[in-house]
């Protein structure tokens, strides 16, 4: 213990409140508490009135709040008043009228007395010995084994949380060679002429007849179609051959964490993911130029079919979306 240079002067002397000595002040405090409780009662009445009296679609204009739903607003205000003032009343009551003498209680060390601790250890040893846990090692070991094995069963039970295992499904999409590109929304096939220079479109693959599109499909198939002037591309010959008349197609699912890469800046030809601001350069095959994404967006080779509609000329050559352990990214 370090030295205390000034001795403890002890608890300060108790100062009486006005209401403790002056009956008039006490009466006033009582009335204030009653007023607070009454305000709460009025709040409940407002609450009931709003519930039955204000139509649910009634709008009201208020400064600051703007146009807002009157039913929900007054219901809420009624509830707030009714609860808040019960609390205020109780606290005011406690502060003005209930005894305000501070009380001192002793505090004992948490540690038990030495003899209790010794007795406790002795009991454990004694009771443990009667069970023979220390002696009967065979029982001890087999019990350990059975408990350990039993612990596996709940884990096994979780196996059917998913009927299918990943396999190579994460690397598959519905894009095949010859799959038509459909507008989303609208589900119409697109011709190159439908897309002006500078335009962006979201497209999805035409699915085999009778197959309904699910969110699982969209989560992997979503594609961005961007048209720029062909001379603006800065691509190698292979990647250039994957474009068609300045139209280039990228997976819309971010290679970082799977958000939709939805923001396209026409002037810089950059794609930006709103989740974590990874920025991709469209002219350089969606090369990452800023942010946490480590890989470009996968590019889909496109061309036109015999009727002049845009189609995929091959599937994606890599998995779309965020990385995972088995993903071959080399």
């Amino acid at each position: 213990m370090s030295l205390q240079p000034i001795q403890d002067p002890g608890l300060p002397t108790h100062v009486h409140r006005k209401a403790d000595t002056d009956p008039k002040a006490a009466k006033r405090a009582e009335q204030q508490v009653a007023l607070l409780f009454l305000t709460s009662a009025l709040g409940t009445i407002l609450f009931i009135f709003s519930y039955v009296g204000i139509p649910q679609d009634q709008l009201i204009f208020l400064p600051i709040l703007g146009t807002t739903n009157a039913h929900q607003l007054f219901l809420g205000l009624g509830l707030a008043i009714s609860l808040f003032f019960i609390g205020m009343g109780a606290v005011h009551w406690a502060k003005t009228l209930m005894p305000d003498h501070e009380v001192v209680d002793v505090r004992k060390e948490q540690r038990s007395k030495d003899e209790d601790r010794a007795a406790f250890v002795a009991t454990i040893k004694e009771q443990g010995a009667t069970a023979g846990l220390g002696r009967r090692t065979l029982i001890k070991r087999t019990l350990g084994l059975s408990l350990g094995l039993a612990g596996l069963s709940p884990l096994l039970m979780l196996r059917d949380c998913s009927a299918e295992l990943p396999g190579d499904e994460l690397a598959q999409t519905n894009w095949r060679a010859g799959t038509r590109l459909l507008t989303d929304p609208g589900d119409r096939p697109i011709k190159p002429g439908d897309l002006e220079v500078g335009a962006v479109a979201q497209v999805l693959p035409l699915l085999p007849a009778g197959r309904k599109r699910t969110l699982n499909d969209i989560a992997k198939d979503a594609l961005l179609l961007i048209r720029i002037r062909p001379e603006e591309f800065n691509l190698d010959t292979e990647r250039l051959s994957w474009t068609y008349q300045g139209i280039i197609a990228f997976s819309k699912i971010c290679s970082h964490m799977g958000c939709a890469v939805a923001l396209y800046e026409q002037s810089t030809k950059h794609l930006l993911c709103p989740c974590h601001q990874s920025t991709f350069d469209v002219t350089r095959a969606a090369k990452v130029i800023f942010g946490p994404a480590a890989r470009p967006l996968p590019q889909l080779p496109i061309s036109v079919d015999s009727e002049g509609y845009l189609v995929a000329s091959a599937p994606f050559n890599e998995a779309v979306g965020p990385s995972y352990w088995e993903r071959d990214s080399e």
Binding site: P12, M257, A294, P322
Partner: protein, 528 residues
């Protein structure tokens, strides 16, 4: 005896004859609780938990935790005929077709935000006053567990409506799962029941959100409060308050009235927010589809620091032998939060190892009187603040007309540079405040009154402190640094291991103080 008293007596008699509770109740009802505004922070957490249970139960009466596709036919016209999940449609139903439904949704969401904010504030109070020291380390760990669960519970909660924003959050959570080496894609498949998004995760997280996690919460909160009760509350130092006593108000009636009243105040305030402050307007976002997103997508604030870490991460992935490791997700999404929360949970033990202090403590520290701890806290807080700022970098860029790239680079550098600066500055401020306390005790309070002496000299009149105030400023203890042991008990020289040296170094840092006035110094002053 009045009839009322007789009735009360009969009830008490009935209960005591069956439980023998009278003795315990007598002690309990007069149990002493120290009073201080900062002790209310934990209460706010408890009360918002109750508000969450009440408002959440109301919401479950209509919420349909299903991903079945339905066509919307409710009264919100802009979405008329749109295909969406039953979860989203039922959330719209609660918002537009159940009387008071929107109010309850907003109260529930606000209560969740307050729940977590109050938890963090309570944690900071406990940390900076040293309330986590022996014998309360276990309660500190329970608290860290509650905070972790609270973050998860909040995230699951705002994911349930299956709107565009929350679905995006789930997608990110899926990417974090997938990034775990070896088992990632399997883990994600087991959670989602197959490929993302599937049709199972809303019912699954619903069970976790309304049953599993609240159940664990209830158990942990009970344990947390029982320990507070059993170990008795800590108190701030001051005249008459010692390590051996508790000074405060008895449970009945004062504390009960104040605490009970405070519950209603918190509930009333939350209801007020629910009435006037719109939050999570899911009808604006639209139903979830993986191909769309809103600009300025933001998680709730308690996830913001994690998102900020992910945003500032450099683009590093390892590609080798046909496998991929996403360091850009693993490090900010799992490794750093894991290290942070582990260090936080272990802090009571780290501090006691540093200072060699293994005694019980029931008197709280003023933050300035433990400069090292306060500086460590400021360092951690600065780290989280920088990451939180980066989590809102897109909004900051828009509102303050800044470049997102610059904010990102500020955060990337700041997250390394600013926390150590915060440590040093905070420590110096604490020491300066100690020095000011010391001056005040020795020379009294400056009164701002100048007096000219007959020979022309000006002096400022100082007023001596009251004995109470002087005691308060000098009663804290100042532990000396641990000496690194040089020889063992038999006198053989010890090789100064790196651990010993580190401990001595840390102990020296932890014991850096401005010496408080000594008895001699005070005596000397008196003679003047």
């Amino acid at each position: 005896m009045k009839a009322r008293e007789r009735a009360a007596g009969a009830v008490a008699n009935y209960l005591d004859e069956r439980t023998g509770a009278a003795k315990w109740m007598k002690k309990t009802l007069t149990k002493v609780f120290p009073d201080h505004w900062s002790f209310m922070l934990g209460e706010i957490v408890l009360y918002s938990f109750i508000i969450l249970l009440l408002s959440g139960t109301f919401l479950t009466f209509w919420f349909d935790p299903s991903m079945r596709e339905v066509e919307y036919e409710g009264s919100y016209e802009p979405l008329e005929g749109v295909h969406m999940s039953a979860a989203y449609a039922s959330t719209l139903h609660i918002s537009f077709d159940v009387r008071g439904g929107l109010l309850m949704r907003q109260i529930h969401h606000w209560a969740a935000l307050i729940f977590l904010a109050a938890m963090v504030a309570h944690l900071l109070r406990v940390f900076f006053t040293g309330a986590f020291r022996k014998p309360r380390e276990m309660n500190w760990i329970i608290g860290v567990g509650l905070l972790t669960l609270g973050i998860v519970e909040g995230f699951l909660g705002y994911s349930l409506p299956d709107d565009l924003l929350s679905g995006t959050g789930i997608r990110i959570a899926e990417a974090i799962m997938q990034a775990i080496p070896v088992v990632g894609s399997y883990l994600s498949y087991f959670v989602f029941g197959g490929a993302f998004p599937g049709e199972l995760f809303i019912p699954r997280i619903y069970t976790a959100h309304v049953l599993l996690i609240p159940g664990i919460f209830l158990a942990l909160i009970t344990a947390h409060l029982m320990l507070v009760w059993y170990q008795k509350h800590t108190q701030y130092p001051g005249p008459g308050r010692t390590e051996k006593n508790v000074v405060g108000y008895p449970l009945l009636p004062v504390y009960m009235a104040k605490a009970g009243g405070f519950f209603f105040i918190v509930f009333g305030f939350t209801a007020f927010l629910g009435a006037v402050a719109q939050i999570n307007p899911i009808w604006v976002y639209g139903p979830y589809t993986p191909a769309q997103i809103g600009a300025g997508s933001q998680p709730d604030w308690y996830m913001g620091w994690l998102d900020g870490l992910v945003r500032m991460s450099p683009p590093i992935e390892t590609h080798a032998l046909g496998y991929t490791i996403s360091w850009n997700i693993l490090i900010p999404g799992l490794i750093i939060p894991g290290i942070l929360f582990t260090l936080m949970a272990l802090y009571p033990f780290i501090e006691s190892w540093m200072t060699g202090d293994k005694r019980e403590h029931h008197l709280l520290d003023r933050p300035r009187n433990n400069p090292n701890r306060t500086a460590i806290g400021a360092m951690a807080l600065t780290f989280v603040l920088v990451t939180l700022i980066n989590g809102g970098n897109d909004l900051l860029a828009v509102h303050f007309d800044l470049s997102i790239n610059q904010i990102m680079w500020f955060s990337r550098i700041g997250v390394f540079v600013l926390p150590p600066i915060a440590f040093v500055v905070t420590k110096r401020i604490c020491l300066a405040l100690q020095r000011a306390d010391r001056e005040m005790v020795l020379h009294g309070k400056e009164m701002g009154r100048l007096v000219m002496l007959p020979h022309g000299e000006f002096i400022e009149v100082h007023e001596p402190l009251s004995p109470q105030k002087a005691y308060q400023l000098t009663s804290h203890e100042q532990l000396p640094a641990l000496a690194a042991p040089e020889t063992d008990e038999r006198g053989v020289a010890l090789p100064k291991g790196i651990r010993q040296r580190m401990k001595a170094r840390w102990s020296r840092a932890a014991s850096e103080q401005v010496a408080k006035p000594t008895v001699e110094e005070l005596k000397e002053i008196e003679h003047h």
